[in-house]
Subunit: 387 residues, 2 copies
DNA sequence: TTGAAAGCGGTACCAG
DNA sequence: CTGGTACCGCTTTCAA
């Protein structure tokens, strides 16, 4: 029998209810002649350790061989007598049997998992993609393991390396990795090895690599946005973006400038601020813009919505009224865009679809690299009123 | 050799670049006398199938037995000759060896994974908690598998059931399950079985169950919020909340009313709207409030920030200026609260800390249910100006 | 300190 | 159709 007790230990709680845990280190040293692992001994000690039923148990319970039980449960069930299938199924149900996935994995040589690597799960961009992926995985009977690279190419590489140990069926990497990082080539090598060993790799927003990829039409979306803004009467543009090495940022920027070029408009370097790919980055960049003096700039394009949102607040904090004194546009059209004031003009990206497509690509029969391009659509809102 | 080709198939892409995939179904039927699985045949067919190195390979490469290799790599490395440890490590590095976690799992009887079940990964509340959990898991060398219950108790139960197959070391369930749902007892039974088999269960916001729990001080936070609002001069309160069965909503509401009671203020049922626990729910509820006519109501408390945010937009859409015509307060203090206008008064919950604590609880040596209480703090902002 | 070998829970051949 | 059995990759006991 094991002692169970609900004990509380405060964690800076105001109602801090004492900081004690009932300790019980009576580690009964057990002696046992039989050859058994400490694990199993421990389990016995714990008493109630009702170990989950194994295939063996099911076989015994239903009076058939374990081979037959296995077949009845999943294999080509065609070759098992109806009555036996029924017995086995009944036994399995009775014992509440659930196959040990690790065992299956090792026996079959493939797991039922998909690994997902994102930059930051807190960022709506990634959580939306993750949602799509998890949903699709669910349908395919895969479970998703998630790792966060925290925007570090190095960590990303480490993660992928360690992921190998899990032998996932597919690895999906979402995030705008930094081109030219030292870890790039090793990462590619790593993924190629994984792939040639039968794994499936899908990248989000990283084409030009020998892997399946889901791309977002950043260039086209940004170009259309630029044109739309020009159409609304905007003339002088400011830009908030990430470093050149961030592919997503680079693409959106290039699409945007290309769109402006048509109207013979250039962006003054003075009004192009490089910053982090985060809300905070957007905020800081906007302050910077204000500090530089944005005389004449009538609209600022931030390469994504979280940055645009931060920028909007920064402008307001600086005494400017967004949508009146300065227009703002973002990219992604994440949820909160409609709840900020003024509502944010953006380029809609069906993020959950990105996730779904990635999973579909990963699960497709064809194991040659495929490419899915997700289209985008400009959504004009109050942050960019006609001028 | 296998053909590789990058092919594109549009997905509603505007630049829809043809919808073809180079097909190549030349399934060379191979005949092979030796006893080999189709799997391995397939791998051969794929050619480049460089299978990952196994412990066996490492042992061979370093000229020791596989037992010694295993010990050198992780076991009680004390009993392995230094020189051999070195050889093995070198060989492992050279072969780029990564232990097969499923194999380890089955041999050791425990996996290196933690399972996390959330309601909706897109909701900042959950993604913040997830971030904390993933971070903590990372440190502990666990990888996190994630499942989404989509706010359905039934799905939650299904997930937990299926999770068993993965034999995770810990299961963390975040989300305010609906009390009294049919699936409640089965869920508890399921978790108890899992726990008595050696697994660790941690619940977020579901105390009173025989599992470790991280609770958020909903009652205290809401009570303080109520007092603070009263202190600011508010007199007539409206509330946007979820059904009574949602524990989190219920607790926050009860704390809030308790706080008001002190000031002898009651909330008129007329101004208490029940809705979904989502942004949309908040929006709809606010419209409903407006429709009912909120004569005299000077502040509305929504039981969480996403609802409050939606409500704010709804009020604005109805021609009211939030923070002037009507004050609004939420709960959680998720990121976007500072970027809406007016910035949202809320009760700050250190969500990442919730995740961290959950993981810590799960990993603690003591396997009796523990309890961690996360304290909260009122943050007054522009949405509730003094009256 | 080491190697041989017995599992861990399953799968899939092979020979009935 | 079924059972026996040889693995899968790794850990751990046992005997050397």
């Amino acid at each position: 029998m094991i002692l169970k007790a609900i004990v509380a230990f405060g964690e800076g709680s105001p109602a801090g209810s004492g900081d004690g845990r009932i300790a019980d280190d009576t580690m009964a040293t057990m002696v046992d002649g039989s050859r058994r692992s400490p694990e199993s001994l421990l389990r016995d000690r714990l008493g109630d350790g009702q170990q989950p039923a194994t295939l063996h148990d099911v076989a015994r319970e239903s009076g058939v061989s374990i081979a037959t039980a296995s077949r009845a449960l999943n294999g080509s069930s065609r070759n098992v007598r109806e009555s036996n299938v029924a017995r086995v199924l009944a036994a399995a149900a009775k014992l509440d049997y659930e196959p040990h996935l690790s065992a299956q994995a090792i026996a079959r040589g493939s797991t039922k998992t998909a690994a997902l690597v994102v930059n930051d799960i807190n960022d709506p961009y990634f959580s939306s993609i993750a949602a799509g992926i998890i949903e699709a995985a669910e349908v395919a009977g895969l479970i998703v393991t998630m790792a966060v690279s925290d925007r570090s190419p190095q960590r990303e590489l480490d993660i992928v390396r360690r992921l190998r140990g899990h032998r996932p069926q597919v690895i999906i990497i979402a995030g705008s990795r930094i081109d030219g990082a030292d870890s790039r080539d090793p990462l590619i090598a790593e993924l190629e090895a994984y792939q040639s060993a039968g794994g499936r790799v899908v990248l989000v927003s990283q084409p030009d690599l020998p892997f399946s990829t889901v791309t977002i039409d950043n260039v086209g979306g940004a170009r259309q946005l630029a044109r739309a803004l020009v159409g609304l009467g905007y003339q002088r543009f400011g830009v908030i973006r990430a470093v050149e090495e961030f592919r997503t940022s680079r693409e959106r920027l290039s699409g945007f400038t290309s769109g402006l070029r048509r109207a013979r408009i250039r962006i003054d370097d003075r009004y192009s601020v490089v910053t982090e790919f985060t809300r905070r980055g957007g905020y800081d960049a906007a302050r910077e813009l204000v500090a530089r003096g944005l005389d004449g700039v009538d609209v600022v394009f931030a390469v994504n919505d979280v940055m645009a949102t931060g920028a909007m607040t920064a402008f307001r904090d600086a005494g400017l009224v967004p949508g009146r004194d300065i227009a703002i546009a973002g990219f992604d059209d994440i949820g909160p865009t409609v709840d900020v004031t003024p509502s944010l003009t953006s380029v809609a990206v069906p993020l959950d679809k990105v996730g779904l497509s990635a999973m579909r690509l990963a699960l497709s029969d064809d194991d040659r690299p495929g490419l899915v391009r997700i289209s985008t659509k400009v959504v004009l809102r109050e942050s960019t009123p006609p001028r």
